[in-house]
Each structure stands twice: as C-alpha cells, then as structure tokens.
Symmetry: C2
C-alpha cells in the first residue's frame, strides 16, 4: 500500500472548476426563504436591494447541481488554493489510536480561515455588477479580514460592523482589516438606527452577529452602489465553500480513502456545509455510510437545543425568514470566545439535513475545546482557532472511542483556521481564568420568545 | 514552455536529506571563533558549558560540505515542510514589471517564520544528549515561539528571555509561547547578574538581543542539564537553515529557472545564509552570475555601516569572539519594530562573503519597508513580517529597475514570515505615527567604542 504523506497536495490543474450545490441533490429540499411581510417565497426582486444579483441567483437556485466558477475567481483562488489535506500522524501518535485522522487545513491565508473562499466570489460579482461599496459584519474577525482582502484586491470600499466583544478582545484584527483598507465599526454602533435602538435598551451589550448584520444591511440598502455581503448562513455561501469538500474528496481519491466520520464546527454552517458537500451527496444517494457530526459551543446550541422554525437572520428582524434551527433572533450569546460560532441560527440546508437525520450534532464546553486545541497545537504544531477547535475536540473524542473499540476508523475534520488573533482566550485558558457557560432553559426561553409566530 | 504555477511544491520524497555547509565551499573561509581569554581558536571544550555537543561539532566544522539530517528531524520537518516556492504573479501585475518575482514562503508554520528549521534540530540534539532544559533569547518572538514548539514536541523545559520592547509591543507572542509551555522573561530582567547590572545603569532600557543572549547564557551555564540555544548568527544555525535554499533550488530546477537576483533580510543572518547557500556555491565555483542582496534596517546597519572586526556576540561580553561586521556589542538599537533585525553583528560566513565582494548590502528605512509590506499584502494576500518586508522592499525596487531597463530579470526573495503579531506596527503605519530613525555617526561611534581592541 502506498504510504500516505503528511500533506496531500493537489496541483493547480486539479483544482475543481465548479462549485457543488448540495440542495440540488436533496429529495427533501430546504424550505424557501420567505418575505417577512407577505410570507410568500422571497423573489430576486425582494432581495435585490440587499445582495448582488449573481449571489441572489445562486441563493434561489436549488436545482443546478454544479455551477461554474468564473475564471477571474479561479485566478485569485490560485493565490492560496488548493489547500492541503493533512494526515495528523503526530496527533494519532499522541492519542495512541488505531484511527486515521485527517484535516483539511484552510488557515494558511491571511484571513486565517476558510472565509476567503466566499469573500472572493462575493467581491468579484459586486465589482462585475458595477457596485463601489460593500458592507458586512464580523464576529471573530475572520470573515471581516477575508472581505477586506477581497475588496482590496478588486478595488471596492468596505465597512465592517464588528461584534463589540470581539472588537475589544481582538484589537489586532481591527488593525489587520484596516491595513487592507476597510473601515471597522464596533457593533452595536450609533451610526445606524438599529444600533442606536439596541444601545438605548442596553448600553453595555457585548453585541452579537445578529445585531451586526442588522447594522450592515441598514447601511447597504441606503445606497444604490452598495450591497451587503454575508460570510455564512446563506446557501450561496455554502455553494462557494463547497470548494473545501471538493478538494478534500479529490485528495482522498488519490489514495483510495473514504472517511468514515466527517466533523465540522458549526456556527452559521459555512465551513461544515462546504466540507461535507460532496460526501453528503454520496450519503444521500445511498453510496456511503459516512457519519457526519456538527459541533457547536454549549453556549450557543442552535442545533442541539434550538427550534426548527422560520426565523429572522438578524436581531432587528429585517431579513427574509429562514427555516432553520434557531435560538431566536433575540438570543444574545454570552461572551464566549469562539466569536465565529456566536450565531443564533443555522443554514437552512444543514438544518433540513439535521431534521432528516443525516447529521449528528453535539455541543461542547469551552474549556474542553481548549484542552483539545492545546493538545493539537503541541502535537501538530498549528495553533488552531477556537472555532476550529470544536471540531478537533470531537475528532479527539472519536479517535479515543476508536481506540477503545480497536477500530481503524478514518476521521476527517475541517481545520477552518488559526488562532493567532485569539491569544487573549488562550491566555485565559493558560491562567485557568476561562469560564464555561451553558444557557439555562430560562435563558433559551427568552430567545425562543423572539421567534415569530407564523401561520403558513 | 511550461506555465509556471503560482506555487511550486516539492513532494515529501523530494525533501533534501542533507544540509549544506556553505563554509566548506569557500576558499576564503570565515575566521574561527576565538576564546576571549586566550584569543586562541575556541575548542569544543570551551563551548561545552553553553551549547549541545552536536551543535558545537557542526559549529566548528568548516570542511564537511554536506551533513546528514537525522531521521527524527526529517520526521518533524514533514509536519510543515517542504514549503512552497511562490511565483508572485499578483505583485508582478501590480508593478507592471517584465521581471519574474519568486518568494520562498516560510511563514505557514505557527512560529510564523523560518526559525522552526533550526529550533527542531537544536531541541532534537539536546534531548538526544540527555539534557532536560534549554534557555534562549527572542526579539520579535519568532525564534522563541519556534523553540517553544520544538521543546513541547521533544519534551524539554524552556526559558525564553524576550527583548523588553518586543515583550511590550507583542504580549500575544508571550501568550503563544506560554501556550506551548515555555517560561517567558522580559529582558533585561532581575533574574540574572547581567540583567541586574544593565537595569541599574539604565532602568528604562528597551533591551536588545545582545543583552537577552547574555541573560540566557548566564542561566544555561548554571546547570549541567541545561544548555543555551541561539536562533541566528552562528554557523550551525545557517547550516540548518540551508534547507530553505536547497528546497528553493530543487523547485527552480523543476522548471529550469536560475534566479538572477537573490534577496534576503539580514539580522543575524539565519534566513539570508540559508536561502542563498546552494546558489552561492554555484557563484563561488564560477557557475553563476547571480547577484545577492542583504537588506538590513537603517536603524541597525551592521553590514552597511559596521566594522569588520572580532567582537562579542552579546552585550555582557561573555561569548566567544566572532569575526564579523558589527556595530559593537554595546550598540543598543532604537525601538525599531523589526525586532528580529535588532542585532549588532552578522554571521561570520556572510561577513566574509560580504568582505570578499560576493554580496551586496543595503539598508532601508522603516516607513519605506511598510510601504512595500502593505503593497505585498494587498496584492499577494499575505501579511508579511516587518523583517521579511525588508526583502520585499528591495525586490520591489529591483522589479521597478527591471521595468525601466525592460529586462526580464528573475528575482527571488525570502518571505521569512508573517506579521500577525506585528499589528501594533501596522497600526502605527496606518495612522502615520510611525517614525524612521537613522543612527548618527556619534551614535555609531558609541557602539564602536565597545568593540574589543585585539592584537592577534
């Protein structure tokens, strides 16, 4: 048998030339977006003031199985893709497990994460459609950095609303986005109607992704030449992120490997949806027995403790309604450090797959996540992002189970990014001042109360 | 002609299995280290209290042309090597230059730089020789992080003396080293004789690499089971770093490319010496006309304005004497942000090559360096370390010259690392509060006065 290298690289020629649209392969498709006023399926015209035309087209398309990646995007991809699929030999040895552990490493670009994969197409289409500016939100700062890089490349202005607690914990992220030319505004801010309202109610709020989204959307719709871009939750983002799974599958195919367990961290679903896409296609068609695991923080458990319902994507309840697992758009997560996972809802495709039993979900507490992160850093040499470490944590658990059972399971997880900008969290962990937080049923009930009562 | 890809990867099998010892190819070899008491060439016994045995052997060996890389090191290398050789298509386009620009990218490992290449062998040999602890110094923090990673991997204790100004500017670097289990002490400190003396004289000193080295050496020689490790300046470090140049040459050979201009930033010389090694061998044997450029900060111009003389490697004047270009071990550089280049001297091999006309040296001011850094970040997508940006700056200058002359020069530079932990400096640059500093002749004279008067 061929020895599997530490890193499986694809050549630039082998890079996928099409994205995979997972919804098109599902018998039970995710429910459509609804216009919040009419409760009818949202049309392209409804979405036009907010998003770029091409992104809307992709968002509403649940039948095209593959969508061509434009040449201008493939060109930029070459700057940092294909990314390596890594065999975690060092981690396997430390765990003394018979399992094979693999991770797809998306952290070598300067955004520090997979987020660049969707930032590029969104900026590319905006430029092509004659826009001059974009607005967005960011939690951990990875998406904001990715958009800053893409906008610098294509020559677009960018305003980033950054969740206030993240802006405070990560000043360096702000400097980084500014280096790429973006304007960074801590959210909630007094620059928007929404922000002012929230600050009036709770001047000390730590902010949330839902609230930052509201501010970014409000600013975007004010101008003809400006649109809003989102780094997760929506289906066109998952489409762009399918490049992760497609590359992973090609790399595995070179060595005839089929993963038994596929693990991704889950915030809005962008990484998880992208990683699992081609593998889930096989599962849906009955050609695979792979087991899929979504890992979310115990502090923001939208899949494991949320409701499957139509809800708004933002706190101000201005977006179309999305059928998803949700904690309610009014749910404000605690200041958990995994900023990128502080979102109340979950992508609709993943929600439907979860509802239909194709996906397992787990929630883990922060300290346990950092235990896994530090073990990974010391063995594999890469300092993982707290978000990614949720996936590492589950992978370690599965590898330990495999050891107990004496099974040679093949475990794949997505290493979405690096933790260089999360050193405050690591310092808290090192100094044992990190706290765990699990919302009480009452905490959740307050969030659920903000889910709209809809009679379809 | 074959299209050159954005990234030229080597396979793991193609990784060099031997390091290249540049001195062995020189007719005019660098002068030997001298024992500061006897002024006789330092022997292995002289160095034994300070360094590991194998590193001493390598340090004193100027005749073996190639030295085998042990299997245990090759194994660890696989975790992050071979690194990619990148064609800077985006930068070329932005500069509209006929030149081809290439960079060897050493920044994807968590130390954020090439430093890991020598940290691994030094920790490996220490462990093999039965030591339990190591001490070292760090400027920008890249070397300290690299040693922390290597010591975590091989199970060794580590104390890092970190130049005080860097510790203040980069608290996150400290957290990072602590995450890997190292103990970090800002230098000068009150934990050593040397540190206390320096603090007594100047309680507000910002520290220097020379001073941090003194503290680390003082601590190491106190114990039988502890040795000191250094990330630059010495020849065994350059030996380990030759992996950079060897991989680069192999990657070029795949496409039949010979670089015309080879550029590296120069602090103690570890990256520059490693990058140029195999190309300089060709030059020394008359088989190449490549032009070599060392780029140093105007604030610490050891090659361009220093003296070629025997000098101490540290401020406390405890190390063996090294024949090198030096500003004097008493020279304290201004708080220039390129922490890794804040060293008064230069590796002896590179010094000899410079004295013999095989190498050009240039010094550049900080603001110009950051101009190049931001251009690079916005086009190539990678946020470079300030140190590496010195090389980028010269590469951009050369590409512009090539444009004026209409020449298709092939330019190679070393992208030693990333700037994620240098965001304070980037913020100063963005806010236009960054200052340049060029030492006056009087400033230099004060440093030169500390060079020992030796009558050989």
């Amino acid at each position: 048998m061929t020895q599997i290298p530490y890193k499986i690289h694809l050549t630039e020629d082998e890079t996928p030339k099409q994205w995979l649209n997972l919804r098109a392969f599902m018998k039970n498709k995710p429910a459509p977006l609804l216009h919040p006023g009419t409760l009818k399926p949202a049309t392209a015209d409804d979405l036009k003031p907010v998003f770029c035309d091409e992104c809307i087209k992709q968002e509403l398309d649940d039948t095209s199985k593959y969508i061509d990646i434009p040449q201008g995007i493939l060109e930029f991809y070459k700057g940092y893709r294909p990314s390596a699929l890594v065999r975690a030999y060092f981690l396997e040895k430390a765990l003394d497990t018979p399992a094979e552990i693999y991770y797809k490493y998306e952290g070598t670009n300067t955004s520090g994460s997979h987020k660049l994969n969707s930032a590029i197409p969104q900026a590319y289409y905006a430029k092509k459609e004659g826009l001059t500016s974009l607005t967005t939100e960011t939690g951990a700062g990875q998406w904001g950095t990715a958009m800053s890089m893409a906008c610098a490349f294509y020559g677009l202005n960018l305003i980033v609303y950054m969740v206030k607690v993240s802006a405070q914990q990560k000043p360096y992220r702000k400097y980084l986005m500014e280096t790429y030319g973006a304007k960074v505004v801590p959210s909630p801010s007094d620059t928007t109607e929404t922000g002012r309202k929230i600050l009036e109610k709770d001047p000390n709020t730590s902010g949330s992704l839902g609230c930052a989204i509201s501010e970014a959307v409000e600013t975007a719709v004010k101008s003809d030449k400006c649109r809003y871009v989102l780094g997760s939750v929506l289906n066109h983002v998952l489409l762009h992120q399918s490049i992760i799974g497609l590359e992973t599958k090609l790399a595995f195919d070179k060595y005839g490997i089929s993963p038994d367990i596929i693990i991704g961290c889950a915030g809005g679903g962008s990484n998880l949806g992208g990683l699992i896409a081609p593998f889930m296609v096989d599962k849906l068609s009955g050609n695979s027995n792979a087991h899929f695991i979504a890992v979310e923080p115990a502090s923001c458990p939208s899949l494991t403790r949320g409701k499957f319902a139509y809800d708004f994507g933002d706190t101000a309840q201005t977006t179309p309604l999305i059928k998803m697992y949700t904690l309610g758009s009014g749910y404000i997560p605690s200041s958990n450090h995994a900023g990128g996972l502080r979102y109340h809802g979950m992508n609709s495709t993943l929600s439907q797959l979860y509802a239909d039993g194709f996906l397992e979900a787990r929630s883990v507490e922060q300290t346990k996540v950092f235990d896994a992160a530090v073990l990974f850093a010391k063995t594999e040499g890469i300092l993982p992002a707290p978000e990614s470490s949720h996936a590492i944590c589950a992978a370690v658990d599965e590898a330990k189970k495999a050891k107990l059972a004496g099974e040679k399971k093949k475990i794949l997880f997505g290493l979405t990014g690096t933790g260089y900008f999360d050193m405050t969290a690591y310092a808290q962990y090192n100094e044992k001042t990190m706290s765990d937080y699990i919302p009480s049923d009452e905490d959740l009930a307050r969030g659920f109360a903000t889910i709209p009562q809809i009679d379809l």
